[in-house]
Amino acid sequence: MKPTENIEKIIKGLHDTTTADMDNRVIGDILRTFKNQQMQTSAASQPNLWRIIMKNKITKLAAAAVIIIAVFVSINHFGGNLGVTSVTWADVSKKMDTASTVVFSITSDISYKGKEKLTMSAKAQAYTARDYGTRVDYFMNGELAWQRYKLPVKNIAYVIHPKEKQYQRITLSEKESGMGQDSDDPRQWVKKLLSGTYTKLGKSNINSIEVDGIETKDPNITGSEDLCMRTWADIKTGWPVRIEVEGPKMEGPNKAYVKHVMDDFEWNVKLDPNIFEPNIPSDYIQIENSQKSQLNQTSQIESDKGKEKEQVKEVAKTFFQTCAKEDWEKLREVLHTGVPINEQLKKHMGGLELIFLGEPFTKSGERGWLIH
């Protein structure tokens, strides 16, 4: 036992915690009683109160003044919705910053508009922890298609293709390892959205949760003129409920309509550090990265124009050569995609040949290359 002088301190340190069982039992009883009580009293008590107010001249005037002020304040602060608050977006971002971990789902749908409509969809489960990094498991047709680990602490990223028993090991640059550089982290998406001008979407309902939304089409934020980025947050809790990116975009050589949705967020959940260990089986083969990591494609754009022109020529030549040879593994490397080339794409691209490679041009904000 500690010296008895500490008695006061020890008593202050006493702490009991309720069990989930007790919580359920008590809350159930409280709410039942509370509702019963309300049903009994609500009908009778309110008219009486109003009558008391209306009996006296002063209280009558005061009541009128209170109503006017309440209406004015509601219209100004809550956009006309009496009694319903809206989300303070700066607080949402701050709240997200305090979270040490987040687990969420990603749904990606890409549809290519051509002679034949082609759609691809993937679902993913993502884990982000401030102390470890991120892990995203992508599933296509219910099967694990590929996994992506980004571990800034170790300056390494892995892309694993279980079906092919292959993996890529990518050393992250200082910039890629830095804070706020992770495209798989929903916090960065919300920050990005809030960093520019955005439009308020007002209130909506997602899975019975009352939400408030904002969106932006600012190309400086979305990275493309027609893309739209939206975020919805729970009005009651202030946590994001859904983050969406939607619109037409160049996916590889094709124009596609993309829709990425992040939802089912669980914040501050306890995550096992082993989740962030790639544990690549010994029979998996390491494949080389022909270009810089697909995790940071944007850095390529920063290279000087002359160099870029040459690079594009090279990539275009390689692309068509691989299409002509129908070398789909090589094509995947050229396109920097972890998604296996499916049969429909193979049908479209198989046998394509490059006859003439012209000059670059820009139309409707999209950069293109004249090819025959």
Binding site: E8, I11, L14, D16, T18, I30
Partner: protein, 180 residues
């Protein structure tokens, strides 16, 4: 304080969410208080249950004059006192020393709590209820002597005395425990 007033107001207007928030905010605080006063976990859980149930019943006409925390602590203390009285009436009064012995011998209890806290709880349980209430409500309940005096219906001076005596008794009880 302001948050509590808003929650009570929302409860008056029928918000079940506000009611749940009040429960979540004060459940552990009240359970700790009740358990310190009774040294009986199931009875302490009953106290918390009864306090919130009675709050839910009366919230429509409830007027919050002081702090909600203080109000709930007072309710918990009153309920704990009722339970103790009922226990005394229905039991053969097994005696405090016996209670200490049986609880000390209970390996489950010793395993669940740190030894130090267990001894302290047992020692608190040996204090006369008025002294125990003064010590627990002031230290753990963060209630002022004035509030405790109002609750017990005595002067502040008496509460000061009960608190001091309570602490001194705890000291001697724990010292004798160590000496053993």
């Amino acid at each position: 304080m302001l948050e509590d007033k808003m929650l009570v107001l929302k409860c008056k207007y029928g918000s079940t969410d506000a009611m749940c928030r009040i429960y979540r905010k004060y459940k552990n605080y009240l359970l700790t208080l009740a358990n310190a006063l009774l040294n009986d976990r199931p009875a302490a859980e009953d106290v918390v249950h009864d306090v919130f149930l009675s709050f839910a019943e009366s919230v429509q006409n409830f007027q919050l004059r002081g702090s909600l925390k203080g109000y709930l602590a007072t309710c918990a203390s009153n309920r704990a006192r009722d339970i103790l009285r009922a226990k005394k009436r229905h039991s053969e009064n097994p005696g405090n020393a016996e209670a200490v012995k049986s609880a000390c011998d209970n390996p489950q209890m010793l395993a669940m709590e740190k030894e130090e806290l267990t001894r302290l709880r047992l020692a608190i349980n040996l204090l006369p209820y008025e002294h125990r209430e003064a010590v627990v409500l002031h230290l753990k309940g963060e209630m002022k002597f004035k509030e405790i005096a109002k609750l017990q219906g005595v002067s502040i001076g008496t509460i000061h005395g009960r608190y001091r005596t309570g602490i001194d008794k705890l000291r001697s009880l724990l010292n004798s425990e160590v000496a053993k």
